[in-house]
Amino acid sequence: MKEIMIKARNVQKSFGTHQVLKGIDLDITKGEVLAIIGPSGSGKSTFLRCMNFLEAYDFGEIWLGDQLVGYRKSASGALVKDKPARIAAVRARMGMVSQNFNLFPHMSVLENVIEGPIVVQRRKREDAVAQARSLLDRVGLSAKVDVYPETLSGGQQQRAAIARALAMNPEVMLFDEPTSALDPELVGEVLDVMRALAADGMTMVVVTHEMAFARDVADRVMMMDDGNRVEIDTPEKIFTNPSHPRTAEFLQRVLR
């Protein structure tokens, strides 16, 4: 029995009257790479953002290991919003990489990477710097350590953002369409870094439109549609013989 890293139970979320997540269940095991696919507006980003509580879910539970994310059980058993410090602490255990990189523009690449370790984890500066240099080397940016983000290409910015997330030594990495803002010729360099990360055994949740990546790298693929988990299975099964017509239809459209 593999250790469960993230457990989601009946997760629901609405924006106003619009229900965006309609009760999602999911278990992600340690070291697993899960790809989430589905049409635009199906709730993929929202679900990912609920995992590290950038978005507060309204109902259900999300667990990181044995820690409930964002809420605690009160004496009566009802869920109440957790203290900000505890929410921040559970977030720090997950790395997140978003479509728009969101590097800190007023800091050099190195400063971006050591910011979390020094300010949040209160690690010694020289340790943080040493680790940052080795991470930046790993994502192929050792020549860009001291430059500012605005001078980097999109692919380089995204690799720097991955290094920044990894510097926190996260237990899970969450990716939200990490390549969809990139010029086509820059997509490969970012996917290569993610492949290497997966091969190292990192637990990863990847919302992606890169079907080739999902097929080759993911252990399982989850298809979402209209706030529901339509199906979840191995890439072979999903891509060759999906059990749900919505999946077949979606794949036909994107793989054309």
Binding site: A85, R91, N102, E115
Partner: protein, 221 residues
């Protein structure tokens, strides 16, 4: 018309002008200090999700922005001793009054500056486990302050000009000293000319610097 200018008089009384300029500088200094500190608090409060913080800040800001500064100064001058029991000097009272006035404007500058930073920066800061105050101090404010500096400088320049309102409350700043001088010398043209030039010489470089900064930072974005 042949009017003979006598600028010599101004030079003879230069000590009076310098005395006035020092008071003007003092009022500006204290008003800026009060305005910045209180303005930061007001700006942050007005962004809060809590109505109890947001509503008083909004009321304060809108009240001070929609009434004349002179009325505010006179009101504070007469009501501060009654409300707080504090008997301030005229100069201190004007400094406080202009400080509150400036705080309303600085507060709006802070708020607009912070709001101009994209939500993605907050997300990135929170995703690495930063608290609200860490995100604000380390990520948002350093970027926002850049955008605040040009409007801040403009506001600072108007604040210097507003110190002349102190003359209405018998504060011996530049305008008041100038008026006294006119009463004894009967040379209003010379004295007001020099006064206007003095303000322009102080304020124009400030406005110029603000425009330069604004252009430079616009180019870099």
């Amino acid at each position: 018309m042949d009017y003979t200018w006598h600028f010599q008089i101004v030079w003879d009384y230069r000590a009076v002008f310098i005395r006035g300029a020092i008071v003007t500088a003092q009022i500006t200094f204290w008003a800026t200090l009060i305005g910045l500190t209180l303005g930061l608090a007001l700006g942050l409060m007005r962004r809060s999700e809590m109505v109890l913080l947001r509503a008083p800040a909004a009321t304060f800001i809108e009240l001070f922005r929609s009434t004349p500064a002179l009325v505010q100064l006179v009101w504070i001058y007469y009501s501060l001793p009654i409300l707080t029991g504090l008997q301030l000097s005229n100069t201190a009272s004007v400094s406080v009054g202009l400080g509150l006035h400036a705080a309303a404007y600085f507060g709006e500058i802070f708020r607009a500056g912070v709001n101009s930073i994209s939500k993605g920066q907050w997300d990135a800061a929170r995703a690495i486990g930063m608290s609200y105050s860490q995100s604000m101090r380390r990520i948002i404010l350093p970027q926002a302050i850049r955008r605040m500096i040009p409007p801040f400088i403009n506001e600072f320049a108007s604040l210097i000009k507003l110190t002349t309102l102190g003359s209405a409350l018998a504060v011996y700043e530049l305008l008041h000293e100038a008026n006294n001088l006119i009463n004894s010398t009967y040379r209003p043209l010379e004295i007001y000319t020099v006064l206007a030039v003095a303000f322009a010489v102080i304020i124009y470089p400030i406005i110029y610097a603000s425009q330069r900064l604004e252009r430079k930072w616009q180019l870099r974005q």
